[in-house]
Subunit: 365 residues, 2 copies
């Protein structure tokens, strides 16, 4: 801790390993393939931690990330993003060396794949289970039929099944809502699977989001899960009721540079280029970009939600703290912040330090 | 354009040069020192474009950025951020080689400087002109006196004057409000300058924010301006009425990967890790993360504000477009997006391409 002089992203490796182990064990118990999403950490070193728990297949969110992890020995990768046809040459290069799956959700992209794919490629059809971001509604079986027909024109392409991301679990306001959205996704996907399994006996259903994979216990009809955020968790998962404070394995440490008692504000070196402008709303209806952990009587304690990162400019962060806590912060202290969304924060820092001081690089660093 | 296959940050060099020239000319006409803020572009190559207009002194927002630009030949740098006392050794190393100015706004930091600074260092006292982010209220002359007294203990430290950033011009709702906030800042700083100029005949006032430096014409009592964003401008400045579309020199190009006609949505490869989650609100009260430019009859045209980047996840962006425009977007097209806040977007991309295809690196790339 004494060597940190600038905003620094710190992860607790032991807790990361516990988080991985718990999810790997859960997948095994439910007879699910575990294909963790590596977009959260984007690091080959952290990727290796998953091998300890026998992970051999991974998910990424871009062709670039697939190239990076392929170059670090991962040879079974799903790019869980609607295929970008401008990257078709990169996809052909990747499939020369690894087992690759991609997503399709429209005829235009399917036509380009049918025409241009040169090596074995798995294709999942992206299903929208209700988050309304991407994918085909599960009721549109005509569209699905026509896409499969197009894909079948190219013998190198194998239709693998249906992939969904119940992203709307992130906007749930209670764990009950996560359960009900997850259950709804299960029903939709099971219906689809039943419809197609006669023609495609090996058809698979792949589902993945940290909230449902963490707290739900029914995965009926699902073959594979792809959670990613769970390795670190963050304030979003905590506020959803998905994880406890001690399961959050990530912090931003930021130096205090100024204090303004008249408005109970602490200024830190740590801004939008460190934490990201992703925000949540606290119980008083105020936006926040992170919350604060303090050592109180030797125990790491999350300060009440009246203590929070209230605003961010490029390099500055403004903490609002309660009057009683104000004197606990001194110029030159390092404040321990739990970020709102660990994926975006990690992407901004581009490197990690472990609590025991090891530096860990990411893609492009 | 044909080689772009992924989200790409493109700048128009000719427009950047025009934007620099205009600000440099304005500074000269108003007899102001021009010390542009380099946090916006963070690039040594782009920094060199300023030398064409005789810029020799710059502003940065961190010690790290000062180190980067010092290593690229800049020897007169102001770090416009409340000094982080944990970086005192880095500051001492920098001052061995360049003319450096830093900011102070409290006695604690002043004491550390008085004790530890080893080489010549300029210190500005940060004044809060109303944005309530950092700085000392201009009425607290007692605090200012006591800080100057502390600084004077160290003969290597020279008190240079007062520095302010009227950041509240960014939240103005009209150009009139920018004028009035700027004028208020001028009054506060002039009062301070008058009070201190007997004891410090060379005292300077440094002011800087792109809105007021672009549109205001009264800089009475100001010695130096430090705008940064103006080299690119962005939707925030456009919405404030500070710049025209043709003055915005920055775009994000993003491939279209899916279309959802039932909700008039276009899915692009381009998310929070490209555009940043900084948002504005359009005339219908909707949050947006960027707006869309189209070539219409050979002319670059900003689509109406019913066409916008409506949401972002890590890699996905969702455009809402009007029904009439929906068919103008095809899978595999590159969409031209004007980002909300060019500083944060540039920081995420970490490299630029010029419209004529030159790649430009930034700090840490």
């Amino acid at each position: 801790m004494t060597e940190i002089i600038r905003p620094t992203l710190v992860i607790d490796k032991e807790q990361c390993l516990k988080n991985i182990e718990r999810m790997a064990t859960k997948a095994k118990e439910h007879n699910l393939k575990f294909r963790p999403h590596f977009k959260t950490h984007q690091s080959a070193v952290i990727g290796d931690w998953f091998r300890i728990y026998n992970v051999t297949a991974i998910t990424v969110s871009s062709v670039m990330m697939a190239e990076y992890f392929a170059s670090h020995g991962w040879d079974d990768i799903t790019i869980a993003f609607p295929v970008n046809i401008l990257e078709i040459n990169n996809i052909n290069r990747l499939t020369a060396n690894i087992k690759l799956n991609i997503l399709v959700e429209n005829r235009e992209a399917a036509n380009v794949l049918a025409e241009k794919i040169k090596n074995n490629l798995g294709v999942f059809i992206k299903i929208d289970t209700g988050s309304n971001r991407t994918g085909i509604s599960s009721s549109k079986t005509g569209t699905i039929d026509s896409i499969i027909k197009i894909l079948n024109k190219n013998p190198k392409i194998r239709f693998r099944g249906f992939l969904a991301h119940s992203g709307h679990t992130y906007s749930a306001i209670s764990t009950n809502e996560i359960f009900s959205r997850h259950f709804d996704a299960l029903l939709k996907l099971a219906t689809l699977k039943n419809r197609f399994k006669q023609d495609f006996p090996d058809i698979e259903v792949s589902l993945g989001d940290t909230p449902s994979c963490t707290i739900c216990t029914n995965f009926s009809g699902v073959d594979e899960i792809r959670p990613g955020n769970f390795i670190f968790y963050d304030m979003m998962q905590f506020q959803l009721g998905v994880c406890d404070l001690n399961e959050i394995a990530i912090r931003v440490l930021s130096p205090v540079v100024a204090k303004h008692q008249s408005r109970n504000e602490i200024v830190i070196y740590g801004g939008a280029i460190h934490l990201s402008k992703e925000f949540l709303t606290n119980s008083a209806g105020k936006r926040y970009y992170g919350r604060i952990v303090k050592n109180i009587n030797g125990k790491k304690t999350l300060l009440s939600d009246r203590n929070y990162v209230a605003s961010l400019s490029q390099e500055h962060g403004i903490l609002k703290v309660s009057q009683k806590n104000f004197q606990q912060f001194s110029i030159g202290d390092l404040v321990e912040i739990v970020p709102v969304h660990s994926c975006l924060t990690a992407n901004l820092f581009r490197k990690y330090y472990t609590t025991d001081g090891m530096e860990i690089s990411m893609i492009n660093t």
